[in-house]
Protein backbone atom coordinates (compact mmCIF):
# COMPACT_ATOMS: atom_id res chain seq x y z
CA UNK A 1 0.00 0.00 0.00
CA UNK A 2 1.15 3.54 -0.73
CA UNK A 3 -0.03 6.30 1.51
CA UNK A 4 0.66 9.98 1.56
CA UNK A 5 -0.02 11.99 4.68
CA UNK A 6 -0.51 15.75 4.35
CA UNK A 7 2.08 15.93 1.62
CA UNK A 8 3.12 19.48 0.75
CA UNK A 9 5.41 20.31 -2.12
CA UNK A 10 6.72 23.71 -2.98
CA UNK A 11 8.41 24.26 -6.32
CA UNK A 12 9.12 27.58 -8.01
CA UNK A 13 5.74 28.67 -9.34
CA UNK A 14 4.00 25.50 -8.25
CA UNK A 15 2.64 24.03 -5.03
CA UNK A 16 0.89 20.87 -3.93
CA UNK A 17 -1.17 21.14 -0.77
CA UNK A 18 -2.18 18.50 1.76
CA UNK A 19 -2.14 15.49 -0.50
CA UNK A 20 -3.73 12.54 1.28
CA UNK A 21 -3.95 9.45 -0.84
CA UNK A 22 -4.12 5.80 -0.14
CA UNK A 23 -3.52 3.24 -2.85
CA UNK A 24 -4.08 -0.40 -2.10
CA UNK A 25 -1.40 -2.95 -2.86
CA UNK A 26 -1.74 -4.48 -6.27
CA UNK A 27 -4.42 -1.96 -7.21
CA UNK A 28 -4.79 0.07 -10.36
CA UNK A 29 -5.23 3.69 -9.38
CA UNK A 30 -5.72 6.61 -11.75
CA UNK A 31 -4.97 10.22 -11.11
CA UNK A 32 -7.03 12.62 -13.18
CA UNK A 33 -7.21 16.36 -13.45
CA UNK A 34 -6.86 19.25 -15.85
CA UNK A 35 -3.49 20.28 -17.25
CA UNK A 36 -1.43 22.01 -14.61
CA UNK A 37 -3.21 20.35 -11.71
CA UNK A 38 0.05 18.88 -10.44
CA UNK A 39 -0.35 15.23 -11.42
CA UNK A 40 3.16 14.74 -12.79
CA UNK A 41 4.70 16.60 -9.86
CA UNK A 42 2.87 14.28 -7.49
CA UNK A 43 4.17 11.23 -9.35
CA UNK A 44 7.71 12.57 -9.23
CA UNK A 45 7.34 13.31 -5.53
CA UNK A 46 6.29 9.72 -4.88
CA UNK A 47 9.32 8.54 -6.82
CA UNK A 48 11.56 10.88 -4.83
CA UNK A 49 12.45 13.04 -7.82
CA UNK A 50 11.19 16.32 -6.40
CA UNK A 51 11.75 17.46 -2.84
CA UNK A 52 8.90 17.27 -0.33
CA UNK A 53 8.34 20.26 1.94
CA UNK A 54 6.33 18.50 4.61
CA UNK A 55 4.22 15.42 5.14
CA UNK A 56 5.05 11.75 4.69
CA UNK A 57 5.07 9.10 2.00
CA UNK A 58 4.61 5.57 3.28
CA UNK A 59 5.11 2.49 1.15
CA UNK A 60 4.23 -0.86 2.63
CA UNK A 61 4.31 0.60 6.11
CA UNK A 62 7.77 2.15 5.67
CA UNK A 63 8.34 5.87 5.68
CA UNK A 64 10.25 6.63 2.47
CA UNK A 65 9.85 10.41 2.49
CA UNK A 66 13.57 11.03 2.93
CA UNK A 67 14.84 8.14 0.83
CA UNK A 68 16.61 8.92 -2.46
CA UNK A 69 14.79 7.69 -5.60
CA UNK A 70 17.11 4.72 -6.12
CA UNK A 71 16.16 3.26 -2.74
CA UNK A 72 12.39 3.41 -3.16
CA UNK A 73 11.65 0.65 -5.63
CA UNK A 74 9.30 2.85 -7.60
CA UNK A 75 9.51 2.78 -11.39
CA UNK A 76 8.25 5.53 -13.61
CA UNK A 77 7.16 5.51 -17.25
CA UNK A 78 6.95 8.96 -18.77
CA UNK A 79 4.71 10.19 -21.51
CA UNK A 80 7.70 10.46 -23.86
CA UNK A 81 8.99 7.09 -22.52
CA UNK A 82 12.49 8.51 -21.87
CA UNK A 83 14.36 5.51 -23.22
CA UNK A 84 18.14 5.83 -23.05
CA UNK A 85 18.96 6.73 -26.66
CA UNK A 86 22.50 5.32 -26.59
CA UNK A 87 21.45 1.87 -25.38
CA UNK A 88 19.72 -0.89 -27.31
CA UNK A 89 16.30 -2.15 -26.33
CA UNK A 90 17.69 -5.04 -24.34
CA UNK A 91 20.28 -2.81 -22.64
CA UNK A 92 17.51 -0.40 -21.73
CA UNK A 93 15.40 -3.17 -20.24
CA UNK A 94 18.25 -4.65 -18.23
CA UNK A 95 19.55 -1.25 -17.12
CA UNK A 96 18.15 -1.40 -13.59
CA UNK A 97 19.32 -4.92 -12.82
CA UNK A 98 22.94 -4.09 -12.04
CA UNK A 99 21.81 -1.87 -9.18
CA UNK A 100 19.77 -4.57 -7.51
CA UNK A 101 20.64 -7.81 -5.83
CA UNK A 102 18.88 -10.21 -8.09
CA UNK A 103 18.45 -13.90 -8.46
CA UNK A 104 19.80 -14.86 -11.90
CA UNK A 105 17.19 -17.48 -12.63
CA UNK A 106 14.28 -15.36 -11.52
CA UNK A 107 15.55 -12.40 -13.56
CA UNK A 108 15.91 -14.52 -16.66
CA UNK A 109 12.35 -15.74 -16.26
CA UNK A 110 11.03 -12.24 -15.75
CA UNK A 111 12.96 -10.94 -18.75
CA UNK A 112 11.63 -13.69 -21.00
CA UNK A 113 8.10 -13.20 -19.74
CA UNK A 114 8.21 -9.42 -20.25
CA UNK A 115 9.74 -9.72 -23.71
CA UNK A 116 7.06 -12.21 -24.61
CA UNK A 117 4.08 -10.50 -22.97
CA UNK A 118 4.97 -7.15 -24.46
CA UNK A 119 5.91 -8.66 -27.79
CA UNK A 120 9.29 -6.96 -28.09
CA UNK A 121 11.56 -9.95 -28.67
CA UNK A 122 12.00 -8.99 -32.30
CA UNK A 123 13.43 -5.54 -31.52
CA UNK A 124 15.87 -6.52 -28.74
CA UNK A 125 18.94 -5.28 -30.57
CA UNK A 126 17.53 -2.04 -31.96
CA UNK A 127 18.22 1.47 -30.77
CA UNK A 128 15.27 3.56 -29.54
CA UNK A 129 15.55 5.96 -32.50
CA UNK A 130 14.43 3.11 -34.76
CA UNK A 131 11.26 2.25 -32.85
CA UNK A 132 7.64 3.27 -33.33
CA UNK A 133 5.65 4.97 -30.58
CA UNK A 134 3.98 1.76 -29.48
CA UNK A 135 7.28 -0.12 -29.40
CA UNK A 136 8.92 2.64 -27.36
CA UNK A 137 6.12 2.41 -24.87
CA UNK A 138 6.36 -1.35 -24.52
CA UNK A 139 10.11 -1.15 -24.00
CA UNK A 140 9.64 1.56 -21.37
CA UNK A 141 7.12 -0.66 -19.57
CA UNK A 142 9.44 -3.64 -19.71
CA UNK A 143 12.35 -1.57 -18.38
CA UNK A 144 10.21 -0.30 -15.52
CA UNK A 145 8.87 -3.73 -14.57
CA UNK A 146 12.19 -5.51 -14.95
CA UNK A 147 13.33 -4.39 -11.49
CA UNK A 148 10.12 -5.77 -10.02
CA UNK A 149 9.12 -2.43 -8.49
CA UNK A 150 6.76 -2.06 -5.56
CA UNK A 151 4.87 0.57 -7.52
CA UNK A 152 4.76 1.47 -11.19
CA UNK A 153 4.00 5.10 -11.99
CA UNK A 154 2.62 5.83 -15.44
CA UNK A 155 2.51 9.41 -16.66
CA UNK A 156 -0.13 9.60 -19.39
CA UNK A 157 1.29 6.57 -21.18
CA UNK A 158 -1.45 6.46 -23.78
CA UNK A 159 -1.77 10.10 -24.75
CA UNK A 160 1.07 10.12 -27.28
CA UNK A 161 -0.18 7.07 -29.16
CA UNK A 162 -2.28 6.68 -32.24
CA UNK A 163 -5.93 6.48 -31.10
CA UNK A 164 -6.43 3.41 -33.29
CA UNK A 165 -4.14 1.35 -31.07
CA UNK A 166 -5.33 2.70 -27.76
CA UNK A 167 -7.86 -0.04 -27.13
CA UNK A 168 -5.30 -2.73 -27.78
CA UNK A 169 -2.74 -1.06 -25.54
CA UNK A 170 -5.29 -0.56 -22.80
CA UNK A 171 -6.07 -4.26 -22.69
CA UNK A 172 -2.33 -4.93 -22.81
CA UNK A 173 -1.83 -2.71 -19.77
CA UNK A 174 -4.66 -4.42 -17.96
CA UNK A 175 -3.18 -7.84 -18.62
CA UNK A 176 0.28 -6.65 -17.58
CA UNK A 177 -1.14 -5.33 -14.33
CA UNK A 178 -2.85 -8.63 -13.64
CA UNK A 179 0.17 -10.84 -14.28
CA UNK A 180 2.81 -8.61 -12.70
CA UNK A 181 0.76 -7.97 -9.56
CA UNK A 182 2.52 -4.63 -9.20
CA UNK A 183 0.62 -1.60 -7.91
CA UNK A 184 -0.08 0.70 -10.86
CA UNK A 185 -0.61 4.43 -10.48
CA UNK A 186 -1.48 6.10 -13.74
CA UNK A 187 -2.00 9.73 -14.66
CA UNK A 188 -4.52 10.24 -17.41
CA UNK A 189 -7.10 12.65 -18.61
CA UNK A 190 -8.90 10.10 -20.68
CA UNK A 191 -12.05 8.90 -18.92
CA UNK A 192 -12.06 5.70 -20.94
CA UNK A 193 -8.67 4.81 -19.45
CA UNK A 194 -9.99 5.44 -15.98
CA UNK A 195 -13.24 3.55 -16.46
CA UNK A 196 -11.74 0.55 -18.21
CA UNK A 197 -8.54 0.10 -16.21
CA UNK A 198 -8.79 1.40 -12.69
CA UNK A 199 -10.65 0.43 -9.59
CA UNK A 200 -9.88 3.58 -7.66
CA UNK A 201 -9.10 7.12 -8.65
CA UNK A 202 -8.40 10.64 -7.52
CA UNK A 203 -9.17 13.94 -9.20
CA UNK A 204 -6.69 16.76 -8.73
CA UNK A 205 -7.18 20.45 -9.21
CA UNK A 206 -4.81 23.35 -8.57
CA UNK A 207 -2.40 21.32 -6.49
CA UNK A 208 -5.02 19.68 -4.30
CA UNK A 209 -6.91 16.41 -4.29
CA UNK A 210 -10.46 17.35 -5.19
CA UNK A 211 -11.84 13.87 -4.60
CA UNK A 212 -10.60 10.37 -4.13
CA UNK A 213 -12.54 7.14 -4.04
CA UNK A 214 -13.80 4.32 -6.20
CA UNK A 215 -14.17 4.93 -9.91
CA UNK A 216 -17.91 4.71 -9.52
CA UNK A 217 -17.92 7.33 -6.76
CA UNK A 218 -15.91 9.73 -8.86
CA UNK A 219 -18.03 9.39 -11.97
CA UNK A 220 -21.46 8.96 -10.36
CA UNK A 221 -21.15 10.74 -7.04
CA UNK A 222 -18.81 13.71 -7.33
CA UNK A 223 -18.53 15.71 -4.13
CA UNK A 224 -17.95 19.11 -5.66
CA UNK A 225 -18.99 21.26 -8.57
CA UNK A 226 -15.48 21.03 -9.98
CA UNK A 227 -15.37 17.23 -9.99
CA UNK A 228 -18.92 16.97 -11.38
CA UNK A 229 -17.96 19.28 -14.18
CA UNK A 230 -14.63 17.56 -14.74
CA UNK A 231 -16.09 14.06 -15.02
CA UNK A 232 -18.60 15.23 -17.59
CA UNK A 233 -21.74 15.67 -15.50
CA UNK A 234 -22.85 18.33 -17.87
CA UNK A 235 -26.23 18.80 -16.24
CA UNK A 236 -25.23 20.57 -13.10
CA UNK A 237 -27.70 22.82 -11.31
CA UNK A 238 -27.67 24.64 -8.00
CA UNK A 239 -30.81 23.43 -6.22
CA UNK A 240 -32.92 23.87 -3.13
CA UNK A 241 -34.03 20.65 -1.50
CA UNK A 242 -37.49 20.18 -0.10
CA UNK A 243 -38.38 16.75 1.14
CA UNK A 244 -37.31 14.26 -1.49
CA UNK A 245 -37.45 16.92 -4.18
CA UNK A 246 -34.91 19.22 -5.66
CA UNK A 247 -36.14 22.55 -6.88
CA UNK A 248 -34.28 24.34 -9.67
CA UNK A 249 -35.93 27.70 -10.16
CA UNK A 250 -39.50 26.41 -10.30
CA UNK A 251 -38.78 22.97 -11.69
CA UNK A 252 -39.49 20.17 -9.22
CA UNK A 253 -37.31 17.09 -9.60
CA UNK A 254 -37.95 13.85 -7.73
CA UNK A 255 -34.82 12.48 -6.11
CA UNK A 256 -36.36 9.40 -4.53
CA UNK A 257 -34.47 10.16 -1.32
CA UNK A 258 -34.10 12.96 1.18
CA UNK A 259 -30.81 14.84 0.93
CA UNK A 260 -29.01 15.93 4.08
CA UNK A 261 -28.76 19.62 3.27
CA UNK A 262 -31.35 22.14 2.26
CA UNK A 263 -29.20 23.61 -0.50
CA UNK A 264 -26.68 22.13 -2.87
CA UNK A 265 -26.23 20.88 -6.39
CA UNK A 266 -27.80 18.20 -8.47
CA UNK A 267 -25.92 16.58 -11.32
CA UNK A 268 -27.07 14.25 -14.08
CA UNK A 269 -24.86 12.66 -16.70
CA UNK A 270 -26.00 13.68 -20.20
CA UNK A 271 -26.16 10.05 -21.33
CA UNK A 272 -28.77 9.38 -18.59
CA UNK A 273 -31.26 11.82 -20.09
CA UNK A 274 -33.65 10.14 -22.52
CA UNK A 275 -35.33 12.14 -25.29
CA UNK A 276 -38.71 11.24 -26.76
CA UNK A 277 -41.44 12.91 -28.80
CA UNK A 278 -44.34 11.37 -26.85
CA UNK A 279 -44.69 10.50 -23.19
CA UNK A 280 -44.28 6.81 -22.48
CA UNK A 281 -44.67 4.61 -19.46
CA UNK A 282 -41.46 3.73 -17.72
CA UNK A 283 -39.85 3.65 -14.31
CA UNK A 284 -38.48 7.13 -14.88
CA UNK A 285 -39.87 9.42 -12.23
CA UNK A 286 -38.93 12.66 -13.90
CA UNK A 287 -40.28 13.80 -17.19
CA UNK A 288 -40.41 17.33 -18.52
CA UNK A 289 -41.48 19.01 -21.70
CA UNK A 290 -39.01 21.40 -23.24
CA UNK A 291 -37.78 22.84 -26.50
CA UNK A 292 -34.57 22.01 -28.36
CA UNK A 293 -32.32 25.06 -28.09
CA UNK A 294 -29.19 23.74 -29.79
CA UNK A 295 -27.66 20.74 -31.50
CA UNK A 296 -23.89 20.22 -31.62
CA UNK A 297 -21.96 17.65 -33.58
CA UNK A 298 -19.51 15.96 -31.19
CA UNK A 299 -18.09 13.46 -33.63
CA UNK A 300 -19.52 10.09 -32.67
CA UNK A 301 -22.66 11.53 -31.11
CA UNK A 302 -24.70 14.69 -30.92
CA UNK A 303 -25.09 16.96 -27.96
CA UNK A 304 -28.64 18.24 -27.75
CA UNK A 305 -29.58 21.14 -25.50
CA UNK A 306 -33.14 21.27 -24.27
CA UNK A 307 -34.58 24.27 -22.55
CA UNK A 308 -37.11 23.43 -19.84
CA UNK A 309 -38.41 26.67 -18.41
CA UNK A 310 -35.29 28.41 -17.05
CA UNK A 311 -33.05 25.34 -17.02
CA UNK A 312 -31.05 23.97 -19.94
CA UNK A 313 -30.47 20.22 -19.98
CA UNK A 314 -27.88 18.47 -22.09
CA UNK A 315 -28.40 15.03 -23.56
CA UNK A 316 -26.18 12.91 -25.77
CA UNK A 317 -27.75 10.94 -28.59
CA UNK A 318 -26.54 9.10 -31.64
CA UNK A 319 -26.96 10.36 -35.15
CA UNK A 320 -29.50 7.62 -35.71
CA UNK A 321 -31.70 8.73 -32.81
CA UNK A 322 -31.32 12.34 -33.88
CA UNK A 323 -32.72 11.39 -37.24
CA UNK A 324 -35.46 9.09 -35.94
CA UNK A 325 -36.69 11.59 -33.34
CA UNK A 326 -36.61 14.40 -35.88
CA UNK A 327 -34.73 16.59 -33.44
CA UNK A 328 -34.37 20.10 -34.76
CA UNK A 329 -33.85 23.41 -33.15
CA UNK A 330 -37.12 24.75 -31.69
CA UNK A 331 -38.88 21.39 -31.74
CA UNK A 332 -40.81 20.51 -28.61
CA UNK A 333 -39.49 17.39 -26.93
CA UNK A 334 -39.81 15.32 -23.77
CA UNK A 335 -36.84 14.66 -21.49
CA UNK A 336 -36.92 11.86 -18.93
CA UNK A 337 -34.48 10.56 -16.35
CA UNK A 338 -34.50 8.18 -13.42
CA UNK A 339 -34.26 9.55 -9.95
CA UNK A 340 -31.34 7.20 -9.35
CA UNK A 341 -29.46 8.95 -12.16
CA UNK A 342 -29.53 12.16 -10.17
CA UNK A 343 -26.59 12.84 -7.95
CA UNK A 344 -27.04 15.49 -5.28
CA UNK A 345 -24.35 17.08 -3.15
Amino acid sequence: MIKTENLNISLPGFNLHDINLSIEEGGFFVLMGPTGAGKTVLLEALAGLVPVKSGRIIIEGKDVTRLPPEKRGISIVYQDYALFPHLTVIENIKYGLRFHKVDKKETKERLDRLLHDLDIEYIEQRLPENLSGGELQRVALARALMINPRVLLLDEPLSALDPRFKEEIRSGLKRLHRVSRVTFLMVTHDFVDALSLANRAAVMNEGRIAQTGSIEDIFQRPISKFVADFVGMKNLFPARFSGSRAIINNLKIELGRIPADSHGYIAIRPEDIVLSRESFTSSMRNSFRGAVSGIFDRGFYYEVRIRVREATFISLITKKSLFELGVQEGVEILISFKSTAIHSF
Binding site: E44, A47, P69, A82, F99, R126
Partner: protein, 261 residues
Amino acid sequence: MTKKEPFFWITISCGFVIMAFILLPLTEMITAPSLSMLRETIRDKDVLRSIWLSIYTAGLAALISFVFGTPLAYLLARTDFAGKRLVESIIDLPIVIPHPVVGIAILSIAGRNYWLGQIFSELGIRVMGSVTGIVIVLTFVGMPFYVNAVKEGFEGISPRLEKVSRSLGASMFSTFCRITFPLAWRSMLVGIIMCSARAISEFGAVVIVAYHPMVAPVMIYERFEAYGLKYSQPVAVWLVSICLILFLVLRVLTSPRKKET
Protein backbone atom coordinates in the same frame (compact mmCIF):
# COMPACT_ATOMS: atom_id res chain seq x y z
CA MET B 1 10.27 29.55 -60.91
CA THR B 2 8.90 32.55 -59.10
CA LYS B 3 10.71 35.85 -59.43
CA LYS B 4 12.95 36.55 -56.46
CA GLU B 5 12.50 39.77 -54.55
CA PRO B 6 15.48 42.20 -54.40
CA PHE B 7 15.84 41.26 -50.73
CA PHE B 8 16.83 37.75 -51.77
CA TRP B 9 19.66 39.15 -53.92
CA ILE B 10 20.80 41.38 -51.07
CA THR B 11 21.15 38.34 -48.79
CA ILE B 12 23.12 36.47 -51.44
CA SER B 13 25.47 39.37 -52.16
CA CYS B 14 26.16 39.96 -48.48
CA GLY B 15 26.99 36.29 -48.16
CA PHE B 16 29.55 36.55 -50.95
CA VAL B 17 31.12 39.69 -49.48
CA ILE B 18 31.61 37.94 -46.14
CA MET B 19 33.02 34.77 -47.71
CA ALA B 20 35.53 36.85 -49.67
CA PHE B 21 36.37 38.91 -46.60
CA ILE B 22 37.29 35.79 -44.66
CA LEU B 23 38.85 33.71 -47.40
CA LEU B 24 40.91 36.25 -49.36
CA PRO B 25 43.41 37.20 -46.65
CA LEU B 26 43.70 33.60 -45.47
CA THR B 27 44.35 32.11 -48.89
CA GLU B 28 46.77 34.90 -49.71
CA MET B 29 48.70 34.26 -46.50
CA ILE B 30 48.75 30.51 -46.98
CA THR B 31 49.84 30.63 -50.59
CA ALA B 32 52.39 33.42 -50.22
CA PRO B 33 55.38 31.47 -48.82
CA SER B 34 57.18 29.24 -51.29
CA LEU B 35 57.50 25.52 -50.61
CA SER B 36 61.24 25.80 -50.02
CA MET B 37 60.64 28.48 -47.44
CA LEU B 38 58.07 26.34 -45.71
CA ARG B 39 60.53 23.44 -45.68
CA GLU B 40 63.24 25.60 -44.25
CA THR B 41 60.96 27.00 -41.56
CA ILE B 42 59.83 23.62 -40.27
CA ARG B 43 63.46 22.54 -39.90
CA ASP B 44 63.99 25.48 -37.60
CA LYS B 45 64.16 24.09 -34.02
CA ASP B 46 62.80 27.34 -32.55
CA VAL B 47 59.72 27.24 -34.73
CA LEU B 48 59.00 23.61 -33.90
CA ARG B 49 59.48 24.26 -30.23
CA SER B 50 57.11 27.21 -30.19
CA ILE B 51 54.40 25.39 -32.13
CA TRP B 52 54.70 22.40 -29.83
CA LEU B 53 54.57 24.72 -26.79
CA SER B 54 51.42 26.35 -28.17
CA ILE B 55 49.74 23.02 -28.71
CA TYR B 56 50.52 21.44 -25.41
CA THR B 57 49.80 24.50 -23.26
CA ALA B 58 46.46 24.86 -25.05
CA GLY B 59 45.84 21.14 -24.50
CA LEU B 60 46.60 21.56 -20.79
CA ALA B 61 44.22 24.51 -20.62
CA ALA B 62 41.51 22.35 -22.20
CA LEU B 63 42.24 19.53 -19.75
CA ILE B 64 41.95 21.87 -16.78
CA SER B 65 38.71 23.27 -18.23
CA PHE B 66 37.42 19.72 -18.64
CA VAL B 67 38.16 18.76 -15.04
CA PHE B 68 36.81 21.89 -13.39
CA GLY B 69 34.38 23.11 -16.01
CA THR B 70 32.34 19.94 -16.50
CA PRO B 71 30.76 19.85 -13.02
CA LEU B 72 30.08 23.59 -13.20
CA ALA B 73 28.48 23.26 -16.64
CA TYR B 74 26.30 20.45 -15.28
CA LEU B 75 25.24 22.56 -12.33
CA LEU B 76 24.34 25.48 -14.59
CA ALA B 77 22.40 23.25 -16.99
CA ARG B 78 20.39 21.42 -14.34
CA THR B 79 19.68 23.81 -11.52
CA ASP B 80 18.13 27.18 -11.03
CA PHE B 81 19.46 29.26 -8.21
CA ALA B 82 19.56 32.89 -7.14
CA GLY B 83 22.49 34.55 -8.85
CA LYS B 84 22.75 32.02 -11.68
CA ARG B 85 22.71 34.85 -14.20
CA LEU B 86 25.54 36.53 -12.35
CA VAL B 87 27.62 33.35 -12.37
CA GLU B 88 26.99 32.99 -16.11
CA SER B 89 28.08 36.56 -16.78
CA ILE B 90 31.23 36.05 -14.71
CA ILE B 91 32.07 32.99 -16.79
CA ASP B 92 31.68 35.10 -19.95
CA LEU B 93 33.91 37.90 -18.62
CA PRO B 94 37.19 36.53 -20.08
CA ILE B 95 35.59 36.68 -23.53
CA VAL B 96 34.87 40.40 -23.36
CA ILE B 97 37.94 41.67 -21.49
CA PRO B 98 40.68 43.05 -23.79
CA HIS B 99 43.49 40.52 -23.97
CA PRO B 100 46.37 42.60 -22.58
CA VAL B 101 44.13 43.44 -19.63
CA VAL B 102 43.81 39.71 -18.92
CA GLY B 103 47.60 39.44 -18.82
CA ILE B 104 47.94 42.42 -16.53
CA ALA B 105 45.18 41.09 -14.24
CA ILE B 106 46.89 37.73 -13.91
CA LEU B 107 50.28 39.30 -13.24
CA SER B 108 48.77 41.45 -10.54
CA ILE B 109 47.70 38.46 -8.46
CA ALA B 110 50.91 36.59 -9.18
CA GLY B 111 53.13 39.45 -8.02
CA ARG B 112 55.08 39.48 -4.75
CA ASN B 113 52.85 42.08 -3.15
CA TYR B 114 49.77 39.89 -3.38
CA TRP B 115 49.14 36.96 -1.02
CA LEU B 116 48.65 34.44 -3.79
CA GLY B 117 51.86 35.57 -5.45
CA GLN B 118 53.68 35.16 -2.14
CA ILE B 119 52.34 31.62 -1.73
CA PHE B 120 53.42 30.85 -5.28
CA SER B 121 56.93 32.16 -4.76
CA GLU B 122 57.27 30.22 -1.50
CA LEU B 123 56.24 27.07 -3.34
CA GLY B 124 58.75 27.90 -6.03
CA ILE B 125 56.10 28.39 -8.70
CA ARG B 126 56.97 31.10 -11.17
CA VAL B 127 54.17 32.61 -13.22
CA MET B 128 55.92 35.40 -15.08
CA GLY B 129 57.86 34.09 -18.07
CA SER B 130 57.06 30.43 -17.43
CA VAL B 131 55.03 27.60 -18.94
CA THR B 132 52.87 27.70 -15.79
CA GLY B 133 52.05 31.32 -16.55
CA ILE B 134 51.15 30.50 -20.14
CA VAL B 135 48.85 27.68 -19.06
CA ILE B 136 47.14 29.94 -16.52
CA VAL B 137 46.52 32.61 -19.15
CA LEU B 138 45.26 30.13 -21.74
CA THR B 139 42.92 28.49 -19.24
CA PHE B 140 41.59 31.90 -18.29
CA VAL B 141 40.68 32.79 -21.87
CA GLY B 142 39.61 29.30 -22.98
CA MET B 143 37.47 28.17 -20.03
CA PRO B 144 34.31 30.14 -20.99
CA PHE B 145 34.20 28.41 -24.38
CA TYR B 146 34.38 25.00 -22.74
CA VAL B 147 31.79 25.71 -20.06
CA ASN B 148 29.30 27.23 -22.49
CA ALA B 149 29.57 24.42 -25.03
CA VAL B 150 29.20 21.71 -22.43
CA LYS B 151 26.39 23.49 -20.61
CA GLU B 152 24.48 23.57 -23.87
CA GLY B 153 25.21 19.87 -24.34
CA PHE B 154 23.85 19.01 -20.90
CA GLU B 155 20.78 21.15 -21.51
CA GLY B 156 20.04 19.09 -24.58
CA ILE B 157 19.72 15.92 -22.51
CA SER B 158 16.26 15.41 -21.07
CA PRO B 159 16.36 15.43 -17.26
CA ARG B 160 13.79 12.68 -17.47
CA LEU B 161 16.47 10.24 -18.62
CA GLU B 162 18.33 10.92 -15.41
CA LYS B 163 15.15 10.66 -13.38
CA VAL B 164 14.29 7.30 -14.91
CA SER B 165 17.82 6.09 -14.25
CA ARG B 166 17.53 7.11 -10.60
CA SER B 167 14.17 5.39 -10.23
CA LEU B 168 15.70 2.22 -11.67
CA GLY B 169 18.18 2.16 -8.82
CA ALA B 170 21.19 4.16 -10.04
CA SER B 171 22.79 6.68 -7.72
CA MET B 172 23.48 10.21 -8.94
CA PHE B 173 27.07 9.28 -9.72
CA SER B 174 26.17 6.09 -11.62
CA THR B 175 23.53 8.03 -13.52
CA PHE B 176 26.11 10.59 -14.55
CA CYS B 177 28.58 7.93 -15.66
CA ARG B 178 26.11 5.70 -17.47
CA ILE B 179 23.57 8.12 -18.91
CA THR B 180 24.64 11.74 -18.84
CA PHE B 181 28.29 11.33 -19.78
CA PRO B 182 27.77 8.98 -22.75
CA LEU B 183 25.18 11.39 -24.10
CA ALA B 184 27.18 14.55 -23.43
CA TRP B 185 30.73 13.59 -24.28
CA ARG B 186 30.39 14.82 -27.84
CA SER B 187 29.60 18.31 -26.58
CA MET B 188 32.58 17.98 -24.22
CA LEU B 189 34.74 17.27 -27.23
CA VAL B 190 33.36 20.34 -28.97
CA GLY B 191 34.10 22.29 -25.80
CA ILE B 192 37.67 20.99 -25.73
CA ILE B 193 38.21 21.94 -29.37
CA MET B 194 36.72 25.40 -28.87
CA CYS B 195 38.69 25.97 -25.71
CA SER B 196 42.03 24.87 -27.14
CA ALA B 197 41.45 26.69 -30.43
CA ARG B 198 40.83 29.86 -28.49
CA ALA B 199 43.88 29.16 -26.32
CA ILE B 200 46.21 28.55 -29.27
CA SER B 201 45.21 31.87 -30.81
CA GLU B 202 45.89 33.88 -27.66
CA PHE B 203 48.57 36.52 -28.06
CA GLY B 204 47.81 39.70 -26.14
CA ALA B 205 47.59 38.14 -22.71
CA VAL B 206 50.45 35.70 -23.21
CA VAL B 207 52.85 38.32 -24.42
CA ILE B 208 52.45 40.22 -21.16
CA VAL B 209 52.80 37.21 -18.85
CA ALA B 210 55.42 35.26 -20.82
CA TYR B 211 57.31 36.59 -23.81
CA HIS B 212 59.64 33.67 -23.24
CA PRO B 213 59.23 30.70 -23.53
CA MET B 214 57.82 31.69 -26.86
CA VAL B 215 54.44 30.34 -28.00
CA ALA B 216 53.79 30.36 -31.74
CA PRO B 217 51.72 33.57 -31.93
CA VAL B 218 54.44 35.43 -30.03
CA MET B 219 57.08 34.03 -32.35
CA ILE B 220 55.06 35.05 -35.41
CA TYR B 221 54.85 38.55 -33.99
CA GLU B 222 58.54 38.63 -33.21
CA ARG B 223 59.52 37.50 -36.70
CA PHE B 224 57.20 40.09 -38.16
CA GLU B 225 58.71 42.85 -36.03
CA ALA B 226 62.29 41.80 -36.65
CA TYR B 227 62.31 40.53 -40.25
CA GLY B 228 58.95 41.53 -41.75
CA LEU B 229 55.94 39.91 -43.29
CA LYS B 230 57.81 37.44 -45.47
CA TYR B 231 59.45 35.72 -42.49
CA SER B 232 56.37 35.59 -40.30
CA GLN B 233 54.10 34.03 -42.92
CA PRO B 234 55.63 30.52 -43.04
CA VAL B 235 55.38 30.11 -39.25
CA ALA B 236 51.76 31.21 -39.42
CA VAL B 237 51.04 28.70 -42.18
CA TRP B 238 52.56 25.89 -40.16
CA LEU B 239 50.67 26.82 -37.01
CA VAL B 240 47.33 27.04 -38.83
CA SER B 241 47.85 23.78 -40.75
CA ILE B 242 49.00 21.76 -37.77
CA CYS B 243 46.08 22.96 -35.66
CA LEU B 244 43.56 22.26 -38.41
CA ILE B 245 44.95 18.75 -38.89
CA LEU B 246 44.89 18.09 -35.16
CA PHE B 247 41.27 19.16 -34.81
CA LEU B 248 40.30 17.23 -37.88
CA VAL B 249 41.94 14.07 -36.57
CA LEU B 250 40.19 14.55 -33.22
CA ARG B 251 36.88 14.89 -35.00
CA VAL B 252 37.37 11.90 -37.23
CA LEU B 253 38.56 9.65 -34.40
CA THR B 254 35.44 10.42 -32.42
CA SER B 255 32.89 10.67 -35.18
CA PRO B 256 29.71 8.69 -34.45
CA ARG B 257 29.96 5.10 -35.49
CA LYS B 258 26.48 3.80 -36.18
CA LYS B 259 25.85 0.82 -33.95
CA GLU B 260 23.27 -0.75 -36.20
CA THR B 261 20.02 0.37 -37.68
